[in-house]
């Protein structure tokens, strides 16, 4: 912690970055984003196991980017998000410096995003056992049981779009649901509206979702919508050799390889 604060201060004092994005203590034991712009602000930085929000959601926000070069305190999921964002030309070495925190809670400063990528590639994205169990359970359902499961799970959704807002990959300045000429997705949060929104969201994250669970953690109604993206990760592993965010723009779902399986075509 002390070295994190010390380093953040040095970066701000030397003007190497204009803002350090990290965590501070929030309400009821939670943590939240802190945007340190003056060296003194960095005193409030904290890091602990409660720092689960994916701060990469902030690096594509105009209000933050306009401040100048950003330093981002990044756990492994945040680093993955940064690499995916870099491959989509949303961040680069000129506007972002990554202050990594290793799974052992050690501070690690990366010279550039290529180093972040190297670090990230030491780890596979693993779906935790609780969610794996849930995916297996859904897999064993008949199509009509599965349909009922999803209708039931999605029914409380009131479309606050907290999942979209908290997702680092949902940075579109105008989301498909916000178009009304034509209206692709029904606005009301009725059965069809909710179903189409969640399918659309998941499909737009195919081959891009870094499995950080930010969407699920943000959902005020605890809808297990992350199961959709987790299932896609499983499919990617089984059919296309797995997903790993990479600086090369060879995106999993938009790049055809002759050896790709086509057994999903009915």
């Amino acid at each position: 912690m002390d070295d994190l604060i010390k380093r953040a201060k040095e970066l701000l004092e030397s003007s190497r970055v204009k803002v350090v994005i990290g965590y501070e203590n929030g309400t009821d034991g939670k943590t939240r984003a802190l945007f340190a712009e003056k060296p003194g602000d960095a005193d409030n930085l904290v890091f602990n196991s409660r720092c689960i929000m994916n701060l990469a959601a902030y690096v594509t926000k105009k209000e933050i980017r306009n401040k100048g070069k950003m330093a981002l305190i990044a756990t492994l999921p945040v680093m993955r998000a940064v690499i995916q964002l870099a491959s989509e030309y949303q961040v680069n070495d000129d506007n972002l410096l990554v202050l990594g925190i290793t799974p052992e809670s050690k501070l690690i400063e990366f010279k550039d995003l290529a180093e972040v990528e190297k670090f990230v590639h030491q780890f596979q994205i693993e779906i935790d056992s609780r969610n794996k169990e849930m995916l297996d359970k859904i897999e064993k359902m008949t199509p009509s049981e599965r349909w009922d499961f999803w209708i039931q799970e999605l029914s409380p959704c009131f479309k606050c779009y907290a999942c979209r807002a908290a997702c680092p990959m949902c940075y579109c300045s105008r989301c498909t649901v916000d178009f009304n000429q034509p209206q692709w997705i029904p606005v009301p949060s009725h059965e069809l509206g909710n179903l189409e929104w969640h399918i659309m969201r998941a499909i737009h994250l195919a081959g891009r979702c870094i499995d950080c669970d930010a969407c699920y953690n943000a959902c005020p109604l605890a809808i297990p919508l992350n199961l959709l993206t987790k299932r896609m990760l499983q499919d990617a592993r089984e059919n296309f050799g797995g997903y790993q965010p990479s600086l090369k723009a060879d995106h999993l779902m938009s790049t055809f390889k002759p050896e790709d399986k086509d057994n999903f075509i009915l």
Binding site: F158, A162, P220
Partner: protein, 341 residues
């Protein structure tokens, strides 16, 4: 001023529930699902969660559903026919287990829906709801009802307010309205006389954190303040705060057409969304999040008291609990009160 004070034994609540159900009324109450407590239609008494501080969502959906068809239309050779909502189909609902910060919210919602136009559907739904409030014996650090004119044992908006007032778990029942009397008359044996219990000792302690009149006065001078940018920097721009709020009433009107017929649907909307104020021209008068956050606070603590003589906040703390970025509204309101202008 309550009409009658009675006493009801802990074990009698279930009997009251059964009697209300057998009177063919729909009971909506707090129930746990996915670790969240929400209002839902209750079939069995055991589905009701009694031990909770606050539900994730407010009870407003009973009177102002998130999605509500307001008319059907069809086009044929004779012209266009329009069929409005059948007000006779609006169900009789008993809202069970509502906290005082929610029952008060119904008054604020009603002020909005009767401002310059009396909203027929809302008012009809509202008139078919009987509210059984339950006082708070517990509070958390998000609660601030006492700073906005409420208190954990407020009877405002309840037809009957139950307060756990006895060490053996019995309840004081304050019957406040004719509707409340009518519910009590369904089960006269359960409501015992002698309700002269001082409930204050059984209520949660919620310290006053700010003065809303002072916040209102400050806001008049803060429209151009830079504090909105600082406060809203971590806001992600979702609508969770508005959708869990007991008094947020903004809605969107959507037409869903299927060939020559279709429906007009009213659905919740939120001032936190960037497209909320987007004009057809492409111009957006609230183009950045700080302006949207300012609108949220201004609307609740300045515009609503100016125009409707009510504030738009009951201190329930739901917005802060639901916020994925931990935008704690209480902290923000305190800093507004303390702002140097």
């Amino acid at each position: 001023m309550n009409i009658e004070k009675r006493y009801i034994r802990k074990g009698s609540l279930e009997k009251l529930f059964e009697i209300i159900k057998s009177d063919s009324r729909t009971v909506v109450g707090p129930s746990a699902r996915n670790d969240k407590i929400s209002f839902k239609k209750i079939e069995k008494y055991s589905e009701i969660t009694a031990d909770y501080i606050q539900t994730t969502q407010s009870a407003k959906e009973t009177a102002f559903p998130r999605t509500e068809k307001i008319l059907d239309y069809s086009k044929n050779s004779d012209g266009i026919s329009v069929i409005g909502t059948d007000l006779n189909e609006i169900p009789e609902i008993v809202l069970w287990g509502v906290r005082p910060c929610d029952t008060i919210g119904a008054g604020e919602l009603s002020a909005i829906f009767n401002w310059d136009y009396r909203d027929e559907i809302y008012n009809n739904r509202k008139s078919h709801i009987a509210v059984l409030g339950f006082s708070c014996s517990k509070a958390d650090e998000y609660c601030f009802c006492t700073s906005v004119g409420g208190n954990p044992g407020s009877t405002e908006g309840s037809d009957i307010l139950f307060t756990r007032a006895g060490d053996d778990g019995d309840y004081l029942a304050e019957i406040m309205t004719e509707k409340g009397l009518q519910i009590a008359s369904l089960a006269p044996d359960l409501f015992e006389k002698d309700g002269n219990v001082d409930k204050s000792g059984y209520l949660a302690k919620v310290p006053v954190k700010f003065d809303r009149e002072q916040v209102r006065e400050k806001l008049e001078k803060l429209f151009e303040s830079g504090m909105w940018v600082d406060q809203s920097l971590k806001c992600l721009g979702c609508g969770a705060c508005a959708y869990v709020c007991p008094t947020c009433a903004c809605f969107d009107i959507q037409d869903e057409a299927h060939g020559r017929s279709g429906s007009r649907i009213r659905c919740w909307d939120s001032c936190g969304f960037s497209i909320f104020t987007l004009h057809t021209s492409g111009h957006n008068p609230r183009e950045v999040q700080s302006q949207r956050w300012r609108q949220r606070i201004m609307h609740k603590f300045s515009y609503m008291p100016d125009r409707l003589a009510v504030y738009g906040c009951t201190g329930c703390g739901r917005c802060s609990r639901a916020c994925p970025a931990d935008m704690n509204i209480l902290e923000q309101l305190i800093s507004i009160q303390e702002a140097i202008v």
